[in-house]
Amino acid sequence: MSARNQNSAESRLVQLAAAGDQNAQAALFERYRAAAYTVAFRITGRAEDALDVVQDSFIAAFSRLGEFHQESTFKTWLLRIVTNRALDVLRARRLRVALPLETQNGGSLPVLAPEVSDAAESRDLVERIRAALEKLPPDQRAVFALYAGGDMTYGQIAEVLGIPVGTVMSRLYHARRRLYALLSDLAPRDGPGGSGS
């Protein structure tokens, strides 16, 4: 959505938040925390890291709202901050001294899709997908994380990441291809190379 189409009520909310109105900031937080968390979790793969990223991102956003001139939507601007911070977490993690795999993953709680959270088999499935996502290179993972919410267009993802639409398409293609390969036993018959998804 372009700035021209942005809801004027939200525009007012952003202005109030920029002026330090805590009710407006709270409203923005409640409206976008889920989207921010989803993207942060898809990139970092860990609930704790995702929460830290969300918290840091909102602090940065509210502290720098004076620099936000609403050329894009607040959501796009916020998700750009979230994505960059989540990628920073990934880079920092790669710099750490290597730990045994079970120790590295021990601090994270696999976050489950609500509809499958009661079944051990489904927990395994979610965990497999999370592990597969961790095998993607960061640039592909960032595109996939934004895409996985299911409501962003190629153009919006491009705007958040500051890359061309064609690059979004290309990275998403390779990410999906890799994930289907890693999860080949789960992929439907019409996976990559089939008639689509």
Partner: protein, 168 residues
Amino acid sequence: MSTRRDKPDLTADELEAALARVERGELDALEPEQVTALEAWLSADPGAAARLADRVPPMFSAGPLSVAQPPAMVWQRVWRDIRRSVVAPVPLPQHRFWRAAFAVAAVLALAVGLVALHQVGGQADQQVQWARAIEIDELEVFEGAIPLVLSAGLDDTIPVIWVLESGG
């Protein structure tokens, strides 16, 4: 259609066909070389890129992608930490300017009013004027505040000291 394309290994028609498939949600059906050529074309042709920009990519069908959200209690804690950490915004420069301008205008209006009041009173020796014969031992103001000293009376017996707070 046979317009020039930057990627020679696919014809224009092939690129059109590939883009049409992506528009239909069939991204996975392309071959890697088609994707490479399509990416190059989209980068070179804003019109083609615009055709794709409003499309939502196809869903991923190998498994659930939804992410369960933290419980409300956790969000409340996060929100408390955010509130504690967010720095109150500094007023924008134009706001400071207008507040200062308004304060100066108010002081000038008051000074003019005092002058007019004394002139109407017919006592020319009691006009308000800038202080000249007043000795102020110490006048300390902070953080950019602006001191103004006025006086009234023949012997400057009525000193008026204005201090404009920073930002008006």
